[in-house]
């Protein structure tokens, strides 16, 4: 195995570090996606509201 | 010769929403123009731009040929907004004294005395404004707005909040100001009061100018005429 060539000291914490880094980015992406979906819905609603007032 | 107020293709945005659109209007010197329109039509926004309280995004605004935010221009503007703009914890005299200094006037007490006299507050000039009645507040606000004998008066809905005594004082002050050559822009949705003093009329709707011109005797007889004219 190639991995065996690597120093195993502190390996778990390295793993945690990488995990944490990508987790933060991932959480942000998820929140971004949810906000995007919410905005899309809101835009739809407001458009309907405006077109019902100005036919 | 410049017109006193010259607005040329003015646009004002809140975000992407245009509150004032492509608005062009000029008011000649010593005219009194009534700005008429529904709530939310853009009257207040327009007046705030003229009073130098708001920026605008496109177009030009000139007061006696100068932009409204320029300091020398603001010296010639008298502004009366929704709020009355006096300090509760100062006396009437201190209020006027403070605003006179801010306006860059030579603060002699005769000026302040006479302006208190004009609105009938001379006898209570040493009283904290907090103890004033509503009407007295309003008259003090009038004295404040007319203190530096402005060449242009911008009045936003002045009749809605005033009581009878204050309306009488305002009408008198406005007549005096017109005699002295001041230009007045007054926004209102109380047509009758405005039309009696106005020489010109401008109708604003959805931020656009719908009509502007001299006030005719027909309008005075039938104030709603303007709105009907617009429908045609």
């Amino acid at each position: 195995m190639l991995l065996s060539a690597m120093d195993t000291r502190n390996f778990t914490f390295m793993f945690y570090g990488f995990l944490a880094a990508w987790l933060i980015v991932l959480i942000y992406i998820v929140s971004l996606a949810r906000r995007g979906a919410r905005l899309k819905k809101e835009l739809e609603q407001v458009r309907n509201l405006v077109s019902s007032k100005h036919p | 010769m410049f017109d006193a107020i010259q607005i040329d293709q003015l646009w004002k945005f809140y975000g992407d929403y245009a509150a004032v659109r492509d608005f062009t209007l000029s008011v000649p010197e010593d005219a009194c123009c009534a700005l008429i329109g529904r709530n939310g039509a853009g009257k207040t926004t327009l007046l705030r731009v003229l009073a130098g309280l708001s920026r605008f995004d496109r177009g030009t605004v000139r007061l006696f040929g100068e932009p409204p935010r320029k300091q020398t221009t603001r010296r010639q503007i008298g502004f009366l907004g929704h709020g009355i703009g006096v300090y509760e914890d100062l006396t009437a005299r201190e209020n006027l004294y403070f605003f006179a200094r801010i306006a860059g006037l030579k603060t002699n007490s005769s000026l302040i005395d006479s302006s208190l006299e004009r609105v009938g507050l001379a006898r209570v000039s040493g009283m904290p404004v907090r103890q004033f009645s509503r009407g007295m507040h309003q008259r003090l606000a009038l004295a404040r707005a007319f203190l530096h004998s402005p060449k242009i008066l911008v009045l936003d809905e002045p009749f809605t909040a005033l009581d009878d005594h204050a309306i009488a004082a305002l009408t008198e002050l406005l007549h005096e100001a017109r005699k002295a050559g001041a230009t007045i822009l007054i926004s209102t949705h109380q047509l009758r009061e405005a039309l009696t003093i106005a020489s010109h009329v401008a109708l604003i709707e959805n931020g656009r100018l719908r009509f502007s011109g001299e006030r005719t005797p027909e309008m005075l007889e039938d104030p709603a005429l303007l709105y009907r004219m617009n429908l045609e």
Partner: protein, 228 residues
């Protein structure tokens, strides 16, 4: 057009990242003193540089907004700040995990840690201020002013905390040290990963800016509905 750009950016970033990860884990040798964990640096340092780049770009965009009054600059500034704060957090968290092993503690009030934390606080304040203002033009103006104050302060914070206390490893990049501190292969990898993270950040900024534009459209339609 914008969506394609986002997808392209993300795809290139993913490829580059895969290449980088392969090299970071399997090709680069271990660092003598620290063992495997030193590899965190390949994300730690690029995240910090990305964040600071973002804050600087926000400064420029804010000034441009105040000069031109064009709300696009404002949307972009908001997005860049937000993504910058995310990567500043990545930087802090990875740094804390590294410190737990190497220094034995999660946190120390060292100059760089404290400065980065203050940065996160200042720009979180910026993001909170934006949420507290409804009117887009006012929001743009006030947050632009805040970001100018914030950036000026970041420089002072940096200087003052550096005098105050320092414990952090000194700079490793050869631009700052004149070389010799770091294996060239490792430094090369730092730059490559910086590029990858920068591209991810750019893709996120593009997505976020689109949302800002949408939010403005919603706001203007609301105003239209209320006015009529």
């Amino acid at each position: 057009m914008r969506e394609r750009l986002v997808i392209a950016l993300a795809a290139i970033a993913a490829l580059l990242l895969a290449y980088n990860l392969y090299h970071i884990f399997l090709v680069l040798p271990d660092e003598a003193a620290q063992g495997a964990i030193y590899r965190i640096i390949f994300f730690h340092v690029p995240a910090a540089i990305t964040a600071f780049t973002g804050f600087f770009v926000t400064l420029v965009l804010s000034i441009m907004y105040l000069i031109s009054g064009n709300l696009r600059y404002d949307s972009l500034a908001a997005s860049v700040t937000e993504v910058g704060v995310v990567f500043a957090c990545v930087n802090l968290v990875t740094g804390m995990i590294w410190a737990r092993i190497i220094w034995g503690i999660w946190w120390t009030w060292d100059a760089r840690l404290t400065s980065m934390l203050v940065c996160v606080l200042i720009y979180s304040g910026y993001l909170m201020l934006r949420r507290a203002i409804d009117e887009p033009t006012q929001r743009a103006r006030l947050s632009a002013a805040l970001s100018i104050f914030g950036f000026a302060d970041v420089i002072l914070v940096w200087k003052s905390i550096q005098w105050f206390r320092t414990q952090h490893p000194s700079p490793v990049l050869s631009i700052r040290t004149g070389g010799g501190n770091i294996d060239p292969a490792m430094e090369h990898m730092l730059y490559l990963n910086f590029l990858a993270i920068l591209m991810i950040a750019a893709a996120l900024v593009l997505v976020r800016t689109r949302q800002e534009t949408m939010a403005r459209e919603i706001d203007s339609l609301r105003r239209l509905a209320n006015a009529a």
